[in-house]
Every structure is written in structure tokens, then in C-alpha cells.
């Protein structure tokens, strides 16, 4: 009984069986919202998060980089080839650590969200926080690398005198030499944002469901 009490202090009170039977929906809503968020985040790993399309007269179809959490796809060879003129490093060198750990990280984030289902006090919010912040973290990290690459150009590159260091925007329209760049979120990132929304809503219902139990416990 002592064990159980200590445990309940940590992860919050358990719902009495008859209360659960009586108000099933009240307790299931946060559970389902968190579970859906976790699933969406896991699914998003397999989908593109972000894309950058470069438009120029001689590339009528445009050149595209598509970012997954652990990979870059698209016209990388051609873009790298062009980037050497301005002295930008190959795109594959960006965010190598992030790309290596991203899969484990995202699985971890999802597990934490699932864990929040079983935690019925305010610690649940802490567990859900990484999931909530995932898309924002992705965009911030992306902007960091874009700035890092745009700012650190090889001064001996052929076009170093005409193209000065720059910061490509992580979202929206930019301009570099004859290229107009269009950066936009892709389905994976939208899923991550969707998961954030579900987590927020989930936290509201979570608080509504368990706060009375926590207060009862504290009495």
C-alpha cells in the first residue's frame, strides 16, 4: 500500500473503477488525443517535413530539396553543383547529428506522449512538452542550419565576389542570384503541428478529467 501511494504521488491518482464506468468519455478523451498525437508523430517520420524549390529561367521545372527528419532528397546533386559556385558546402553536411538521432528522438517523443496517458497529474504536461514543441524545434534547427550554410561561404569560390553571405528563410520566398527560392512546410511537418494541436487539446481535457481526482488526493 505504501508503494502504491508513493507511486500515485509521482504519476497521479488512479481512477476508481466505478467512476471510470460512469464517466468513461471524460477519461478516454485525453487518452485518445494523446495516442492520436503519438501516432501522427510516428507517421510523420516517413513523410517529408519541408521543401525548398529553386526557380530560375533555365530550370523550368525548378530544383527541389525535400527534407525528411533523417534525410534530404530531390535535386541535391544539381543544387550542390550550383552551390559550389558560391562556395556553399554540400547540403549533405548539414544537421548530420540531428539526422542520425532523429528517428530515436521521435520514437522517444512519441513514447513520452504515450506515457503522459498514464500520468494523471501535472507531470503529464512535462512529458507531452517535447511532442508539443517538435515542429517548432524542427523549424528553429532548420533556420539555424540555413543561416550557418548561407553565412559560411568559401571566400575563394568562383562567384564569391558577386554573391555575399546570406540567410535563406526557412519559410517563404527568398532570392539568391538568378534563383527565387520558395520554402514551405510539407505533410510531415503539418502532421507534427496537428499532433501539437491534439496535445494541447488533450492537455485541456486531461486537466479537466484528473484535476478533481488530484485535488481529492491532496485533501
Amino acid at each position: 500500500m505504501t508503494m502504491s501511494t508513493d507511486m500515485e504521488k509521482l504519476i497521479g491518482p488512479r481512477v476508481p473503477a466505478d467512476e471510470f464506468k460512469e464517466n468513461r468519455a471524460r477519461y478516454m478523451i485525453p487518452t485518445l488525443l494523446f495516442a492520436a498525437a503519438a501516432i501522427m508523430i510516428v507517421v510523420s517520420m516517413f513523410l517529408p517535413y519541408w521543401s525548398l524549390t529553386l526557380h530560375a529561367p533555365q530550370y523550368p521545372q525548378g530544383l527541389t530539396v525535400v527534407a525528411f527528419v533523417n534525410d534530404l532528397e530531390g535535386d541535391i546533386a544539381e543544387i550542390d553543383g550550383l552551390n559550389h559556385y558560391i562556395g556553399m558546402r554540400p547540403l549533405g553536411e548539414a544537421a548530420q547529428f540531428e539526422k542520425q538521432v532523429s528517428i530515436y528522438g521521435i520514437v522517444g517523443v512519441s513514447l513520452l506522449i504515450l506515457a503522459a496517458i498514464f500520468v494523471h497529474n501535472r507531470w503529464a504536461a512535462l512529458l507531452a512538452l517535447p511532442g508539443l514543441g517538435l515542429p517548432i524545434f524542427f523549424l528553429l534547427d532548420l533556420q539555424f542550419w540555413l543561416a550557418n550554410f548561407g553565412q559560411n561561404l568559401d571566400p575563394t569560390a568562383p562567384l564569391s565576389s558577386s554573391v555575399k553571405p546570406f540567410i535563406p528563410p526557412a519559410l517563404g520566398v527568398g532570392k539568391i542570384a538568378q534563383f527565387r527560392t520558395e520554402a514551405q512546410p510539407e505533410i510531415g511537418l503539418w502532421l507534427a503541428f496537428g499532433a501539437s494541436a491534439l496535445i494541447l487539446v488533450g492537455l485541456y481535457f486531461h486537466r479537466r478529467a484528473y484535476k478533481p481526482l488530484v485535488e481529492a488526493q491532496q485533501k
Binding site: M40, A77, P185, W190
Partner: protein
């Protein structure tokens, strides 16, 4: 409550997906097409008036003008005549798209200017020790499946040296040249059997087989022609000479051929124009050839049953002459392979109707086309309605095999078909195209419908898929030999005039004149554009386009190197915008140099050229391609090599030095 949750989740998902898919695309809007119900806009009418355009001219302009970025409906493959190449053009725009080097070296494509792979293709067409670097391309043939173009390969012959080339339509480049070991020249090719089992080639000016020496007095005894059946292996993309065979025929000077299809599948047909076996000698007071070969009223349509010939060859009933399996005349007759049928004298084209039931022979010196029926031919064979020629070959009774004769006009040369039961025949002397009705098994159903003048001296014609089992109609191209007054003056050597006709309506209309200033097209093939699916770049970096496989000497980025072994120097170079690597090559006079270049590019159109001044080297290295060349460093000095395709803003910087130490 559960329902609420489900709806919420769905709403979020849908919102995400819509947002993700909706973003981006705000490219420049395409201007809407004009609504011309009220007639052409005033500006257009002003232009037409200022240029003196007739309503027909305006219609022709509207039918052919192809705005920037819009694609043509058909691809036209024209033989380039004695320029030795093939020209690809778009229909209806008639814009030239590519000049495909075949029998003649071409420096833009790096064909025959050092590249080992293309030199080997050209050398396979050498005659003995003589390097042959010219050709006279006549009749292109697209590969077929079930009698329809399949867009995979194009074959083309060289009349002058009796050769056939294979062009792979994945990259529009020549992969193989084969030399007929029996014939020194051959006109009647290329024509493919319905599944491209064989490429048919008929001889023309007969000589002893293998063109051995024999005086003209031995003409009847020793001079012979052949109908050659080149075996094609589609998976290898190559003609297999060892599996090919020839059917020996008399020295009647064979002309054009065609392969049977559907009802006549298994047969090949070739005309001839010297049944007289006249041997000339105008300098000795004899009538010239032109008179001597035109004395008799009839020549012979040759009918070759190639399926029976194949059986006879497989049964070992052949002689091997100069490495080619030959079915001799007596064997061919005994095996039911070879028959003749009289035809009005000196015809030119023989063309099989789409259903394969009728064979149309164009009279040339006779104002008719003569139509034969494959059923009647078969009945005549079964009924042995024949006499024998002096070589013992059955000559089928003309009346037994002939279905109809249609008087079209002067100089009928060559026939094509459309999808409405019409045939089209070029009239050389009349300078016109005749449209006439195929009458099936009713001889009275064969009637001339109309004629349209063309400018001038029309040779072959090519209708849209007009020699297949499913012709499209729509367009017909007239390949006119003379332009005379059609184009601005460019000195005494004039372009030919390739005219496009709209044959979709009740009246044929000439809608475009295309001056051909880079060759003399004889015949063409017109294929629906969507049947072609060429590569944009080679499938992988380090590709050998001749072998269509990864190249032996492919070089990856970072593996560039120069290896010296005594006086043997091996150079592994890469090219990418905008550098050649290495940029310094140090040689000693007398070195033997093998130089391999890989284009690392993967972008469409990122071709690099390579030329080495003073050593006659010119290469075209398309994205992904690896090519090699070898030379003896016979001249010492300091040389420059560089990229020759203006590939980038730093193209001029894309160079290197080759030092040859004395």
C-alpha cells in the same frame, strides 16, 4: 463524446493535408486561348493583309505554328541521303530536332572524331581495308510490334556500301553498323517484318556475290542479287549477322521492298527494273542503260516467303558465302520460297496495305499503280499458274494475281495509307500526290479521288504511321527532290523541299514548306510522339552509351588520376560544371595515351564537349556518359583542351593544358 473526438481528429488531418498540398504553385499564369467565334481579331487580320496571306495560308499557319514550349504531335525521321545521317523533326511544326550521325562522322555529337566507341561502330562498316566514312541513307524503318511502331529502334540503310545501321531511340544514337558481305551496294532497305524479326534488304546493281571480279560478259552466269534478312535481337539492340541469311535472286536489279503484314505476314516483296538483264556499254556504241533496261513491257515483282526461307536455313539447306548463309536459287524454288510476278516495267515502290491483303506496285514509267492480292497470289501458287524464267523461278500469271490497276498520272513512285481506306501515291513527273480508294476485292472499287500539286519532283511520301497496320491519316510528308523557286537563293546547290500536307479533310492541302539544307531525304517514318520515351540523362553516371551498360573506365569524383607505365599513359578524367579534372596533363613525345572522360552531371541538358586542338579530337559527353579516346603523342608542344558546349557562366574557364615534352 467519442464522436466529437473522431471529428476533431479528422478535421485536424484534413486541414494538415489541404494546407500541405495547397502551398506553393503561383507560377506565371498561362494566357487563356482566344475565343474566335467572332472571327480572327483585327490585329491578326491586319498582319494577314500586310503579308498578303490567303485564307488557305492563314489556315496553314494556324495548323502548323507551334508556340514556344508546346510539343509536336508526331516525330518525323528523315533519311539524310548522302549526308549519311538521319534527321529527326517535329510534325506539324517541321522544326528540326536532331541530326543523328549514322554513317558519317559528326563533330558536334563527337561521332567518329576520336571516341573509341563511335570509331568502332563506324569501323564495323569498313570495306576490307578501306575506311568508309560516307554513306547514302535512303529508307528509315521504325521497329514494329504486331505491325505497329513501338518506338524502340530505328534502322537505316546506306545504299552505296550495302550497310544497315541500328539507332537506339532511348538516346537517338547509332549503336551498330553491319556491312552486307555479299553486296557492294543495296537500295531496297530497310523494311522490318511485323515483329522486327528481320530487317529486309534488297540489292540493286547486281555484281557477283561478294563483288568478286567478273567481266560483264559473264553477267547472266555470275552476277546475282540477294534479298537479305538481317536478324534483329531486340533485347541486345543488335543485328546478329551470324543468324541472318540471304536469298539469292537473278540479276534483275532489285529495287524497293516491303515486308508483308497480317494477311501477308511471312512474305517480303521486292520490285526489279532490269528483267532485260541489260549490261550497258554506251561508250562501245551500245544503247545506254537508261534505254536498255526499259525495253520490255514488264519487270518482275519478287515474292519471298521468309518464313519458309527461315525453315530451309534452319534445316541446313544453305551455302555459306563470305560468312553469310545463302539460300541458292534452286533451293529457294524447291522450298517454295521464291516466286516472281510480272509488273509494269521499271516500277519503284512496292507497298503493302494496312490489312496486308494487297500489294501496291507504283509504275514509275507506267501511269498506273498495280494492285496484287495475297489471296490471289496464294491461289496461283497452289494452282501452279506459272511459267518459269530462265533461272527456273516460277513467274505467276499476271492476270491470276493482279487485283486492279488504277491510272493515277505520270511517274507513280511510292504509296502510303491512311485510316479511311485511302492510299496516297507520289507522282514524280506530275509533281503531285494522288489520293485513291482501295477497293478491297472489288476491282472497280479502286478509283482515283483527287490529286494535289507539290513543289517539285516528289520522291517518297510518308504518312502518319502510314506503313503500319494502323495508319493515323492526318499528315503526309512529300519529300520533293527539287525546290527550284521555293526558297531564297543560296547558290547552285539548292535545298530539297520537304512539304507537309494536311490529309485529314476532303481535300489535301500543302500546309508547310521545309527547306532541307543538310541532306537529301529519300524516305521518312512518322511516329506518334507519345510512343517515344527517350532518356533525359543516362541511367547512371559512368555509362557507356554504345554498350548501354556501365562503362569499364567510368571515373568517380575524387578518383581522377593519371597512370604512367613506360610510355603508356592512362588518364581518368571527370567533367562537371565548370571544371575538367585533371587540368594539367604531362606527356612525353611518343607516348601512347588512353584518355577516359566521365561526365558527372545528372541534370538534363548538362552536356560537356571536349576538344583537343591539333589532335583531331572532338567528343560530346552527355550527362552520365563515359567516353574514351586514344592517340600517339606525335607532336610535342603545349596544347589546350577545353569544354565545347557552353555549359555555364564559367564555361570558358573549363579548360586544361596538355604538355608534350620533346
Amino acid at each position: 463524446m467519442r464522436k466529437f473526438f473522431t471529428i476533431l481528429l479528422l478535421a485536424v488531418m484534413v486541414a494538415s493535408i489541404t494546407a500541405a498540398c495547397g502551398g506553393g504553385d503561383d507560377a506565371t499564369p498561362t494566357p487563356a486561348a482566344l475565343n474566335v467565334e467572332g472571327g480572327l481579331p483585327a490585329t491578326a487580320m491586319e498582319i494577314a493583309a500586310a503579308r498578303g496571306l490567303t485564307p488557305d495560308d492563314i489556315a496553314a499557319a494556324l495548323k502548323t505554328y507551334t508556340p514556344s514550349g508546346k510539343m509536336d504531335e508526331y516525330m518525323l525521321f528523315l533519311s539524310g541521303g548522302h549526308s549519311g545521317n538521319v534527321i529527326a523533326a517535329g510534325v506539324p511544326s517541321m522544326r528540326i530536332l536532331k541530326n543523328i550521325a549514322v554513317f558519317t562522322p559528326e563533330s558536334w555529337q563527337g561521332y567518329g572524331f576520336g571516341s573509341k566507341e563511335t570509331e568502332a561502330v563506324l569501323d564495323a562498316g569498313n570495306v576490307g581495308d578501306v575506311k568508309i566514312r560516307m554513306g547514302d541513307t535512303h529508307h528509315p524503318a521504325l521497329s514494329e510490334t504486331d505491325g505497329d511502331y513501338d518506338g524502340q529502334y530505328l534502322f537505316i540503310n546506306d545504299k552505296t556500301n550495302a550497310r544497315v545501321a541500328v539507332i537506339d531511340l532511348r538516346d537517338f544514337e547509332t549503336k551498330q553498323i553491319v556491312k552486307d558481305p555479299l553486296l557492294i551496294s543495296a537500295h531496297g532497305s530497310t523494311f522490318v517484318t511485323p515483329n522486327t524479326e528481320y530487317v529486309v534488304q534488297g540489292s540493286q546493281y547486281n555484281t557477283p556475290l561478294g563483288w568478286e571480279y567478273a567481266p560483264i560478259s559473264e553477267y547472266k552466269d555470275k552476277y546475282r542479287g540477294t534479298i537479305t534478312f538481317w536478324k534483329f535481337d531486340r533485347s541486345k539492340g543488335r543485328i546478329i549477322p551470324e543468324e541472318s541469311f540471304a536469298v539469292e535472286v537473278p540479276p534483275y536489279w532489285q529495287d524497293l521492298c516491303d515486308a508483308g503484314k497480317r494477311a501477308s505476314d511471312g512474305w517480303a516483296f521486292c520490285n526489279s527494273f532490269n528483267a532485260e538483264m541489260y549490261t550497258g556499254g554506251v561508250e562501245q556504241g551500245n544503247p545506254p542503260f537508261e534505254a536498255g533496261v526499259s525495253q520490255r513491257d514488264t519487270d518482275y515483282l519478287h515474292l519471298v516467303n521468309w518464313k519458309k526461307a527461315e525453315e530451309a536455313i534452319n534445316a541446313g539447306k544453305f551455302e555459306t558465302i563470305k560468312g553469310m548463309k545463302v539460300l541458292r536459287i534452286p533451293t529457294a524454288v524447291a522450298e517454295g520460297v521464291l516466286y516472281l510476278a510480272p509488273e509494269p516495267k521499271s516500277p519503284h515502290g512496292v507497298d503493302v496495305s494496312p490489312d496486308g491483303k494487297y500489294i501496291v506496285v507504283a509504275g514509275k514509267l507506267d501511269p498506273h499503280v498495280t494492285v496484287y492480292s495475297i489471296d490471289k497470289i496464294q491461289q496461283a501458287i497452289d494452282g501452279k499458274q506459272w511459267t518459269l524464267d530462265e533461272f527456273g523461278i516460277p513467274i505467276l500469271d499476271f492476270d491470276a494475281v493482279m487485283m486492279a490497276q488504277v491510272e493515277l498520272g505520270l511517274g507513280p513512285l511510292h504509296t502510303q495509307f491512311d485510316d479511311r481506306g485511302y492510299a496516297y501515291t507520289s507522282l514524280f513527273l506530275d509533281s503531285a500526290v494522288a489520293r485513291w480508294k482501295l477497293g478491297g476485292d472489288d476491282p472497280n472499287g479502286y478509283v482515283l479521288v483527287e490529286k494535289t500539286p507539290v513543289q517539285y519532283n516528289i520522291g517518297h511520301i510518308a504518312a502518319a504511321e502510314g506503313d503500319t497496320v494502323n495508319p493515323d491519316g492526318k499528315y503526309l510528308v512529300a519529300l520533293n527532290k527539287w525546290a527550284v523557286d521555293r526558297f531564297p537563293r543560296v547558290g547552285p546547290l539548292l535545298p530539297q523541299n520537304i512539304q507537309l500536307l494536311d490529309i485529314s479533310g476532303d481535300q489535301m492541302k500543302v500546309i508547310y514548306d521545309m527547306p532541307m539544307g543538310i541532306g537529301e531525304p529519300h524516305y521518312a517514318q512518322m511516329i506518334k510522339m507519345d510512343k517515344l520515351s527517350p532518356w533525359d540523362v543516362y541511367p547512371e553516371v559512368g555509362w557507356d552509351p554504345i554498350a548501354q551498360a556501365p562503362a569499364e573506365h567510368a571515373t568517380k569524383a575524387g578518383e581522377e588520376r593519371i597512370i604512367r607505365n613506360g610510355n603508356q599513359v592512362e588518364i581518368y578524367m571527370t567533367v562537371i560544371r565548370s571544371r575538367l579534372n585533371p587540368e594539367h596533363v604531362e606527356l612525353k613525345k611518343g607516348d601512347h595515351v588512353a584518355w577516359h572522360i566521365t561526365n558527372l552531371e545528372t541534370a538534363k541538358d548538362a552536356t560537356h564537349g571536349f576538344q583537343l586542338g591539333g589532335y583531331n579530337i572532338s567528343l560530346s559527353i552527355e550527362p552520365g556518359e563515359t567516353t574514351s579516346f586514344e592517340f600517339e603523342a606525335v607532336n610535342d608542344g603545349t596544347f589546350a583542351y577545353f569544354c565545347t558546349e557552353f555549359c555555364s557562366a564559367l564555361h570558358l574557364e573549363m579548360m586544361g593544358y596538355m604538355f608534350v615534352e620533346p
